[in-house]
Symmetry: C2
DNA sequence: TACAATTTTCAGAAATTTCTGAAAGTTAAG
DNA sequence: CTTAACTTTCAGAAATTTCTGAAAATTGTA
């Protein structure tokens, strides 16, 4: 199968970017190709289109399945395994998002939780402990937020993302509606510093 | 400088995770160490604590500066350069977030925009084009959302993240308050497929 | 200017990751 | 059971990334 120059560019780019998302170049390419291709592809077709070995394809497919990013299909009268990207673009994005959370955030939270159990022995360790606590709080909040986001359906996600600067007002709105959260001392912007 | 076993674990872990965040193991370790250490450190101290070469430290510091994650300080009467993590944990998180957007999302958007300019030549390319359009829409929305988030101050971010399941209700609230966004055809939940 | 302290650079070494392809494993059909 | 079609595995090769350390460059001081 010959790729159009368009498809070629798409596939190569997601190959490079892929490593950022947690898989290697070839796996990224395979996924990109399955995403833009019209209909399922089998391992030989992938190997030929991407000019990589059959064994490499096999390993890549395994990884993509572990990420739940592709699905297996069968064509009547053909013993080969065929694959497509699993679900809509939104589904794919959500899946990548969720998997990364599980693989990156969760282990870190586990470690930090453990570190926070030991008593600091001196000044140095007390400071470190405090920083670890801060990182932990931040990451845990992120984790919960990510969890919330990944449960929203496409419609609500769309709404939320489109809010833009409306988000500010919305947060005020909420504060008023519920009376929750500190009333704050106005504009404490320049506070952070080291 | 000897690291406590706590610091050791923290530093090693963020070394491993670091690669996910866009820099390599040693750079991740250096950053982690500067984050939990009480006070600034110079290049020699970093090299000794992490048991890596002086040259490696120099390269790592350069990269962390490019990420705007560390700041340079000087101690009176000492010609060495001293470094600390730049700003609060929140500042650091925001910076990493923003830098990653610039380095990953933006180039992808640029490429996709370009691909969308060429006319599809056949059925196959039409399908591909359509998929590319979907990916583009999604990523652009993400990009804008990320942009919005990174402009919120710590207080509002905190509010937003703590909303949890309240987010759902909030979105409804907003819809009612403004009358904006599609009225939708009720509950199209089961559409996605896995 | 001279010099000592310090940082940066970068070629090659070391470590790590990815890829290949042949062999082993699996499965459906007759 | 046997065979052919297909998939997976994995040892070693290839590619890529990271690291070292000595030499070059820079900087502040006198």
């Amino acid at each position: 199968m010959k790729l159009s120059s368009q498809a070629q560019a798409f596939v190569l780019h997601f190959g490079e970017m892929g490593s950022r998302w947690g898989f290697n170049r070839t796996v990224g390419q395979m996924f990109a190709l399955l995403t833009i291709n019209n209909g399922p592809m089998n391992a030989d077709q992938l190997a030929e289109a991407l000019k990589i070995s059959r064994g490499n394809v096999s390993m890549g497919l395994k990884e993509l399945q572990a990420w739940r990013l592709i699905e297996l299909h069968h064509q009547p009268g053909d013993r080969k395994d065929y694959f497509t990207a699993a679900g809509s673009i939104w589904d794919l994005a959500r899946t990548v998002f969720e998997e990364r959370r599980k693989r990156e955030l969760d282990p870190t939270l586990t470690l930090l939780r453990q570190l926070l159990l030991t008593e600091p022995r001196d000044e140095q360790e007390t400071v470190a402990q405090k920083k670890i606590q801060e990182v932990y709080s931040l990451l845990e909040m992120l984790d919960q937020f990510a969890n919330t986001l990944s449960k929203l359906d496409e419609k609500d996600l769309l709404k939320l993302m489109k809010l833009g600067s409306g988000l500010n007002k919305l947060l005020d709105l909420k504060a008023k509606a519920t009376g929750s959260v500190s009333k704050g001392s106005g504009s404490k912007k320049g506070t952070s510093r080291t």
